[in-house]
Amino acid sequence: MAHKILIIDDEDDIREVAALSLESVAGWEVIVASSGAQGLARAIEHKPDAILLDVMMPGMDGPTTFRELRKNPVTAKIPVLLLTAKVQSSDQRRFADLGVEAVLFKPFDPLTLSAEIAGVLGWN
């Protein structure tokens, strides 16, 4: 059985490249959402093995979405990896302090993204 991962990102191009990468390189099942609210609904519906969550989104941003995921018993234990283009160390520390599994950075290499995620989650 392949891993199932939910990608939550408002940017269509990033979301589609990430989905393509995880499906074609790792053979994972990918579910996508274009907003935090949609991501919460999809996470409850599909119960993915992990969530790749963008930080900067209009409306409910990544950190807020993460907190909502943790509040819901259905999604509370799903590992979450933040995906961000923020490079300033103060931002990185703030994100790491949220309690996510890892903070990954944009731009990412589509050929190695799945290996990076798998390494963090011990899926190798």
Partner: protein
């Protein structure tokens, strides 16, 4: 659960081809973001940047920084990140920075238009 397959040459080629197709689909949107940076450089030179424009430009540059490298345009990410940083202060950049902004926007335009 399946272990991760190691991407071989064929897989890498197939992925690169699929990403090229995505690039072709998204390049108009990416070009629009570069256009926002162009317009901001022009407005900066005329000392006519508004707070709303600076906020929009900061967001556009941030998105370009995250996107371009993913499409194998690492130089584009570096330039977009520099642009983003120049717009990350409380105040919009002043006319003294217009030359650098214009130069970055022009190079970004070339990078985006040169990618096949």
């Amino acid at each position: 659960m399946n272990p991760i397959a190691q991407p071989g040459d064929n897989a890498a080629r197939d992925l690169a081809a699929a990403i090229d197709l995505l690039w072709a689909r998204f390049v108009p949107e990416i070009g629009e973001r570069v256009g926002l940076l162009d317009a901001a450089a022009t407005a900066c030179a005329a000392n006519q940047l508004s707070a709303a424009q600076c906020k929009a430009v900061h967001a556009a540059a941030h998105k370009l920084a995250g996107t371009l490298g993913t499409f194998n345009l690492a130089r584009g990410t570096d330039l977009a990140r520099e642009f983003e940083l120049l717009f990350s202060g409380e105040d919009c950049p002043g006319p003294a920075l217009a030359g650098r902004l214009t130069s970055i926007a022009a190079e970004l335009r070339t990078i985006v238009e040169s990618r096949k």
